[in-house]
């Protein structure tokens, strides 16, 4: 185990050197956060499909409980229960469009993780950095529980629990707990907890900041303690259900799955769940007593409980939907937490966009009209005044607007269009529009997938480290 401890120290030092300008020390936050004994307990696993290139290289790393798909190289790193999903990487011959440039991709893209410590983190999508087309790099980076690194190369960064960096290259940055950043490129920035920031330079800039005293009830993380709050309690309460799916080799589908839909064998499905045509359910998703209509999806770390999704619903990575009814084409962004109550359900009208990292936690019945944009913290109907707006009205903004803790500047029309186009692309990529012949996506391609497991040294100085492993076709 000595090697594992040395590796931890090496990573922490490298991250701290990068963050010295921000005077940020990751050590007190992550030291002993995952006891080394825990890192030797779980096997790692990888998927093989006929649809994705296979090239996995692991060297001097711990991969405990982590999942890999596609082209991934991990060196000098600790990956704890993380998902490294390389099924949307660029392929040799693709053209990458950036501003007025069409840049040819010369080789299959690879996710490359060096000198990093990722805890329960999801890595997905592809590098959106035109300077590193073929490498989606994550180096000298520490990320904590349920962070999402989505299409975002990272160098010398720290990501707090339940944070998301989306389509953004980041260097030497600190991303606070439950912050969402989509800004293209950021350097040497410290993003405070509970910041939702979406920026397209020269076009629009959206910012919402959670009131910290209220956010702390949902997620709180400080030195010397594990992440705490409603989010962690919610996930921990359902942990046992996942232990079963990870410990059993052959697992039977508990529900009927249409031939055009995909249900990952590492998802938890509780009784009375309906899976419609073209539905995609990813690993580590949790469904209970819910209805997923045609083309709906539940991505990694999503929880859908006692809810009905009418169809073509995107439930992005880490989103949770409880006691709710969603119309068609409702988008629920990353790590959103939507909770109605059995006698006070939450209803969201069709075509609405729930911004990433939105919390709707209501004890009174609450209805969001169709075609609305919703953001921030909503505990009761009156909060909708400052935290929602019809897409039509939002599209008319052409200077700036401030509502409560939300500040927007630029073109509302561009902002809404960018979201709508992206939602359409996600549905397309997930196979929601598959007609039995055309528009095949993840829901159809991920049906035929095999899983293999790999394990670390069981004892001695190298306990917990995985031997160098190269997996190729």
């Amino acid at each position: 185990m000595r090697e594992l401890e040395k590796l931890f120290d090496r990573i922490i030092q490298r991250v701290n050197i990068n963050l010295r300008e921000l005077e940020f020390d990751v050590n007190p936050l992550v030291d002993k956060l995952i006891p080394t004994g825990q890192m030797t307990k779980f096997y790692a696993f990888y998927g093989i499909t006929p649809h994705h290139p296979l090239n996995l290289v692991f060297k001097h790393a711990n991969l405990s409980g982590s999942y890999f798909l596609g082209q991934v190289r991990v060196t000098n790193s600790l990956l704890y229960k993380s998902d490294i999903r390389g099924d949307e990487l660029k392929k040799n011959g693709d053209l990458f469009q950036y501003q007025e440039f069409n840049i040819p991709v010369d080789q299959d893209e690879e996710i490359r993780i060096d000198d990093s410590f990722l805890i329960k983190t999801l890595v997905h999508n592809y590098s959106h950095d035109p300077e590193t087309l073929e490498t989606f790099f994550i180096r000298d980076t520490v990320s904590t529980h349920y962070a999402n690194i989505h299409g975002s190369p990272s160098d010398g960064c720290y990501l707090g629990p339940f944070s998301t960096v989306d389509l953004t290259t980041m260097r030497d940055c600190v991303i606070g707990a439950y912050s969402y950043v989509q800004a293209g490129e950021i350097n040497h920035l410290r993003i405070e907890p509970g910041t939702v920031w979406v920026r397209k330079p020269g076009d629009f800039n959206f910012m919402y900041r959670y009131p910290l005293d209220q956010l702390n009830n949902y997620i709180y993380f400080a030195r010397g303690i594990s992440p705490q709050g409603v989010f962690m309690d919610f996930v921990e309460d359902r942990k046992e259900a996942f232990q079963r799916v990870f410990s059993v080799v052959n697992i039977e589908n508990p529900v009927t799955v249409p031939t055009s839909a995909s249900l990952d064998r590492f998802a938890v499905i509780k009784p009375k769940t309906h899976i419609g045509e073209n539905v995609l359910v990813a690993q580590r998703a949790f469904l209970q007593n819910s209805w997923l209509g045609r083309g709906a999806n539940a991505q990694e770390n999503c929880y859908i409980i006692n809810s009905k999704l009418e169809g073509n619903n995107v439930t992005a990575h880490g989103a949770k939907i409880i006691e709710s009814d969603l119309g068609t084409n409702v988008f629920v962004g990353f790590n959103s937490f939507l909770r109605g109550r059995p006698n006070a359900r939450l209803t969201i009208g069709q075509d609405s966009i729930i911004m990433p990292h939105t919390i709707i936690d209501t004890r009174n019945a609450l209805a969001i009209p169709p075609g609305h944009l919703v953001w921030g913290l909503i505990n009761e109907p009156k909060d909708l005044v400052t935290n929602s707006m019809s897409l039509k009205a939002f599209s008319k903004i052409d200077t700036r607007i401030c509502r409560g803790s939300m500040l927007f500047e630029g073109s509302g029309g561009s902002f809404v269009s960018a979201f709508q186009e992206r939602i359409h692309h996600i549905l397309e990529a997930n196979g929601a529009f598959y007609d039995g012949n055309l528009n095949r996506g993840h829901a159809q391609r991920n049906q035929n997938i095999s899983f293999n497991t790999i394990q670390p040294y069981p004892k001695g100085d190298k306990e917990g480290l995985y031997p160098t492993i190269i997996i190729q076709p």
Binding site: A183, L189, E192, W197, R199, P201, N205, M207, R209, R400, C402, R403, G404, L407, E409
Partner: protein
């Protein structure tokens, strides 16, 4: 221009507004007002107060901007809002968010009364290396120094002592005057 040096244009420190380090913000503003009344020969009034230690050495400067900033409410949230410019928002947007946040702040009179009692040393700016200039430095050199640092004034040094203040307004006036002279000479030459 080349023949001017800093001491020709500086305001001697004896004519400048100064306060001891124990002074409050209110006392500093009174000192500024008094200095402005005394210094009537210039078109441009003083815009800052110098803070002196027990040995009468200059340890800081309080500008009109520092004074106004002291009146602005301050808390962790506002500090964050003021950093929004770093995240690509315009000054107008930052002001809009600040206004929204301050809707429930105390009435302005309370703010004045609190701010008046603040210690000037907590609000002043300590001069940095680039804000000192030797009294015999040429005006051209001083001009470069002013523009490089976007300063409104420089402290004029004689050895270790501060003997005056070179103000942007006085440099501007001298340069403008020189430009006018040169243009009129050129046009006189052309008309002959």
């Amino acid at each position: 221009m080349k023949n001017y040096c800093v001491k020709d244009l500086m305001v001697p420190i004896s004519e400048y507004a100064t306060v001891p380090e124990e002074a409050t913000l209110y006392e500093s503003v009174l000192a500024l007002e008094k200095a402005q009344e005394k210094f009537q020969q210039s078109l441009y009034s003083h815009r800052a107060v110098l803070i002196l230690d027990k040995n009468k050495r200059v340890i800081g400067k309080l500008s009109q901007m520092d004074f106004l900033c002291a009146l602005e409410p301050s808390d962790a949230n506002l500090d964050q809002i003021r950093k929004f410019k770093k995240l690509g928002f315009t000054r107008k947007a930052v002001a809009l968010q600040q206004e929204e946040y301050l809707k429930n702040s105390p009435p302005i009179l309370d703010v004045y009364s609190k701010a008046a009692k603040l210690k000037v040393t907590d609000l002043m700016q300590r001069p940095t290396e680039g804000e000192y200039v030797g009294e015999n430095t040429s005006l051209d050199m001083a001009l470069h120094q002013l523009t490089a640092g976007s300063n409104l004034s420089l402290l004029v040094a004689r050895g270790k002592d501060i003997v005056g203040v070179l103000r942007l307004a006085d440099v501007f006036a001298a340069v403008f005057h020189a430009m006018k002279e040169s243009e009129s000479q050129l046009s006189d030459g052309a008309s002959k």
